[in-house]
């Protein structure tokens, strides 16, 4: 059983919702990311999602776009991200780590080379925004060889047949994108999400987590009520942005406060 599957199973058994926390690896420096990862866990994060910086992050809103730009300036790359995960694993062997990024940097490294190196580094899964199942066979096979989960997105626009295709292909969890839009968009409608997630759950063989547009305890609670958990990203990346000119302990403190308030919100369910 993968680290993600067992983590989510334990949460479900305990009747708790999963909190997945996203930051961009290398934003603004690799050292800051490592500190932040440990802080995210301390404050109640169940799964860490690390953004792999890309020059053209098409699915991201302005906040995470800037995170990618800062990370690239700070020397981020796929290889640097894998090295960072290895570092993280020296102190933490329990918290699952999902890499989220775009196809080209992974394709450039080579799918087979990447999958082997990722497994060795202690990565648990990959989410590739621009690789829908139609184009991901080759990468998926390499990930499977190394027992890495492949996380797929489902969207408000996904029709019944695609929901089934993607649920059947998914390993680890299914990630439902709660809004039509880029990361960090507003206007989340919890009723719409609930209806959609119900349909997805009917087809899913894995837990269903919801992300995009969740920024605080209130929105997290609303969405988690109908799903297995939430993914929060832009709100944390806004805090990490301050690391460029604010002492790291202060940034970590602010991060901790937000994560634990969201954790608390989820635990009230």
């Amino acid at each position: 059983m993968s680290r993600i599957t067992s983590t989510l199973a334990q949460l479900r058994e305990a009747n708790r919702k999963a909190l997945v926390s996203y930051i961009v690896c290398g934003d603004p420096t690799l050292a800051a990311t490592l500190d932040a990862m440990h802080e995210l866990v301390k404050a109640g994060t169940d799964i860490i999602e690390l953004g792999v910086a890309f020059s053209d992050p098409m699915a991201e809103g302005p906040v995470i776009q800037l995170g990618h730009e800062r990370a690239l300036k700070g020397g981020a790359s796929v290889r640097a991200t894998l090295e960072l995960v290895s570092e993280f694993r020296k102190q933490n062997s329990e918290t699952p780590v999902v890499l989220m990024g775009y196809a080209n940097p992974v394709a450039r490294m080579g799918y087979a080379v990447f999958a082997e190196a990722a497994a060795k580094a202690g990565v648990d899964a990959l989410l590739t925004v621009d690789l829908p199942p139609e184009e991901s066979h080759e990468l998926d096979a390499e990930l499977a060889k190394h027992d890495l989960d492949n996380i797929y997105l489902l969207a408000p626009t996904s029709k019944e047949a695609r929901i089934k295709t993607i649920c059947d292909a998914a390993r680890g969890f299914v990630y439902y994108v709660s809004v039509k839009g880029v990361t960090g968009s507003g206007s989340l409608n919890a009723d719409d999400v609930a209806q959609r997630v119900e349909k997805i759950r009917a087809q899913a063989h894995t837990p269903v987590l919801v992300g995009f547009g969740i920024k605080d305890a209130k929105s997290a609670k609303a969405v988690a009520a109908c799903s297995d958990g939430v993914v929060v990203g832009s709100a944390y990346v806004s805090i990490m942005a301050k690391a460029a000119d604010t002492p790291m302990p202060e940034v970590l403190k602010e991060l901790h406060t937000l994560v634990s308030s969201i954790r608390q919100g989820l635990d009230e369910l």
Binding site: S55, A59, N104, R108, P132, E134, K180, G181, V182, S185
Partner: protein, 404 residues
């Protein structure tokens, strides 16, 4: 690789693949809209009344067919082959881009969407989109890299006069690729109400196919005009390649004609050896960007690198996936012309023939001139004059140190 027996009309396959290129590399939110577009397009492209409507617009609104003009003075001056120009610069709005926007606007009409968006580099596609939007009464938003907004100020104002909103994009390199990222973000957000009119033969399937089909009128006309005027096909075709829509439009109807050589001319910038250029087919490697797999300009980590070209319309790190495939199978030769060579061609054509080409098209003219000099006097070299140079006057004046 042998190109015998390739059925060029059979590509792309139903999933948009040209060999290992093309495809549909987008986030899940867009998959349904692309399925829908594909379904509509595959149905309408064989529909006689749709074609009739398209042809009628091309004739009466665009002014087609565009002439085939033999540049006799230029040919004589070079002292080689006969240079013939396909005059896409004479189209309404001044470039081949309008062929595609007319077609996609018709598709938009069938989808019932009231808002269109576009990305633009030189501004020609933005102008062509704003034009058809004005004509159909559609809301129009054009994304344009902030740097391009500066260097193509005339086209920006043209779009505004036509009623479009021009949004300068400040992320990344502030050029065409970033404009395309931003247009994609808009589309993801407004997918229910918005039709994305992509300006080149790139992007996710079915765009490379439908943009090619709409621009193939260029090649079909050129083929018929050549037979009519010269009693035979040209010996070589030359077209500039950024994303590659004018080139594929010219080339496609000739692909099965083995006697016709083809040259796609990329932007050589300061020279291929300097790395400062926009020539992925000459000096890039296959990768994934903007919804398709194709040749890209990228670094060892797979990050897309900044390109350089004097012409905003060619300043793009990728290229249409069909070109990538035509390169690999050896059917088309992809070469490059530098900024200086393009500028020289711009001045020559302007002074010798009284035709001012767009800086994009000047790359094709530059290679056409080079080829003509090396060819037999009886050879016919057909150069696609994809757009006119009015929009570039400020850029050229700046090079000449003149404040207009």
């Amino acid at each position: 690789m042998s190109t015998d027996k390739i059925d060029y009309s059979a590509v792309p396959d139903t999933r948009g693949h040209f060999g290992p290129y093309g495809g549909r590399y987008v986030s899940e939110t867009l998959m349904h809209a692309l399925d829908e577009l594909d379904e509509i397009y595959q149905r309408l492209k064989g529909d006689a009344s749709f074609q009739e409507e398209f042809d009628k617009d091309l004739a009466h609104y665009v002014g087609r067919p565009s002439p085939l003009y033999e540049a006799e003075r230029l040919s004589k001056k070079i002292g080689g082959a006969r240079i013939v120009l396909k005059r896409e610069d004479l189209n309404h709005t001044g470039a081949h881009k309008v062929n595609n926007t007319i077609g996609q606007a018709l598709l938009a009409k069938y989808t019932g969407k009231q808002r269109v968006i576009a990305e633009t580099g030189a501004g020609q596609h933005g102008v062509a989109t704003a034009t058809v939007a004005a004509r159909l009464g559609l809301e129009c938003v054009v994304y344009m890299g902030a740097e391009d907004v500066q260097r193509q100020a005339l086209n920006v104002y043209r779009m505004k006069l036509l009623g479009a909103t021009v949004v300068p994009v400040h992320s990344g390199s502030k050029t065409l690729k970033d404009a395309m990222n931003e247009a994609m973000r808009d589309w993801v957000t407004n997918v229910d109400t918005t039709f994305y009119i992509i300006g080149t033969v790139a992007g996710p399937h079915p765009y490379p196919q439908l943009v090619r089909d709409f621009n193939s009128v260029v090649g079909r006309e050129a083929r018929a005009q050549s037979m009519d005027r010269f009693g035979r096909l040209p010996d070589a075709l030359v077209a500039c390649v950024g994303g590659g829509s004018n080139a594929i439009g010219l080339f496609h109807p000739f692909l099965s004609d083995d006697s016709v050589a083809m040259y796609g001319v990329e932007a050589g910038g300061d020279g291929l050896e300097t790395g400062r250029h926009a020539a992925p087919l000459n000096d890039g490697i296959p990768g994934i960007l903007h919804g398709n797999r194709t040749y890209l300009m990228e670094d060892d980590d797979g990050q897309i690198i900044e390109t350089h070209s004097i012409s905003a319309g060619l300043d793009y790190p990728g290229v249409g996936p069909e070109h990538a495939w035509l390169k690999d199978i050896g059917r088309v030769n992809y070469v490059a012309a530098t900024d200086n060579e393009a500028m020289h061609a711009f001045r020559e054509l302007t002074r010798v023939e009284g035709i001012m080409p767009a800086l994009e098209s000047s790359h094709a003219v530059a290679h056409g001139m080079k080829l003509a000099a090396e060819s037999d006097p009886d050879d016919i070299i057909l150069v696609n004059l994809s757009g006119r140079g009015d929009k570039d006057i400020l850029t050229v004046a700046k090079i000449d140190g003149i404040d207009v």
